[in-house]
């Protein structure tokens, strides 16, 4: 599953996700990717999130929107909210995978509970990262 989140120079946020799904899937199975709030979510007031991993668990956790809710209702920052959802809530239901996020100040986070996540980021301040493993 691939995805991207961005904050533009005006502070506007967007998220997009795309996938071929699971190998050997049957019965027109779909995962979290096309379900707004589970795999993809963007709200200028909080964050933009794109998820990757075992879609059924991200669906049950409503993972992307949950990050936004933690920021909106509990006042958490992006990193804190993503860590709670990815490293605590998803782990407790065996939801393997991760997510990327950005907030309105162009802060980014890339959090995962699996062995690796193909990921990259670039910031206008000059920071740039490409990585696979922890």
């Amino acid at each position: 599953t691939v995805g991207a989140v961005a904050c533009d120079a005006n502070g506007n946020l967007a998220a997009a996700t795309s996938t071929g799904g699971m190998t050997n899937k049957n019965f027109n199975r779909i995962g979290d990717t096309p379900v707004i709030g589970s795999g993809t979510y963007a709200n200028n007031q909080t964050c933009a999130i794109s998820c990757t991993g075992h879609g059924e668990l991200f669906l049950r956790a409503v993972a992307a929107y949950d990050v936004s809710c933690l920021m909106e209702y509990k006042g958490m920052n992006l990193q804190q909210a993503m860590e709670i959802v990815t490293l605590d809530k998803l782990v407790k239901i065996n939801g393997e995978g991760g997510m990327i996020g950005v907030d309105g100040n162009a802060n980014t986070a890339m959090i995962f509970n699996s062995e690796g996540m193909y990921r990259a980021m670039q910031h206008s301040r000059g920071e740039k990262q490409i990585a696979i493993y922890k």
Partner: protein, 175 residues
């Protein structure tokens, strides 16, 4: 002009270091670098976040290494069914597509659904019909084929379960 940024992912899971040769790691790194550069270029020219995430995801869909668009995994029946979604943080507008075949870039279909339909989510044959109506680029089944994904499917196709693409070990049957 304020700060701007982009982040991308190309999948997560049990990515075994021993299976990732230096050549393959270099190819994945290049695929990630190309995608983040595509999105960053949009932002650095003053473009908006929606166009940036679209450009980055198209780049990843067009790279055969990643499980989206070209190089998507195989279904139980040996085909490809793709899903995509996009959301605009300004307006909370969203577009999504599920279980679509033949569309070269499903993220573009999701964006078109967001911008040109009255719906949020379309699926299957109806989504393909809408893509044709909107003149999005279609591809034959062999465009989406990759030997690597085919070999993965061969290992699990007689099982009754589906598998995350990164969790299938070529030397060890999943499930």
């Amino acid at each position: 002009m304020g700060d701007f940024s982009i982040a991308i992912h190309g999948g997560a899971g049990t990515i075994l270091k021993k299976d990732l040769t230096p050549e393959l790691e270099a190819a994945y790194t290049k695929g990630l670098a190309d995608a983040v550069a595509s999105g960053y270029e949009v932002l650095s020219k003053g473009g908006n976040a929606i166009d940036a995430v679209t450009a980055a995801v198209i780049s990843l869909e067009d790279c055969i290494l990643f499980n989206a668009g070209k190089g998507s995994v195989f279904t139980k029946t040996g085909g490809h069914e793709m899903d995509a979604a996009i959301m605009n943080g300004i307006s909370l507008e969203a577009g999504a597509v599920a279980g679509v075949s033949s569309v070269k870039n499903p993220v573009l279909l999701a964006k078109t659904i967001m911008e040109k339909s009255e719906h949020v989510m379309l699926s299957g044959d109806g989504a393909l019909q809408f893509a044709k109506q909107q003149q999005l680029q279609l591809e034959a089944e062999d465009y989406f084929f990759s030997q690597f994904r085919y070999d993965q499917w061969q290992l699990v196709k007689n099982e009754n379960s589906a598998a995350l693409d990164h969790n299938i070990q070529l030397e060890k049957k999943f499930g």
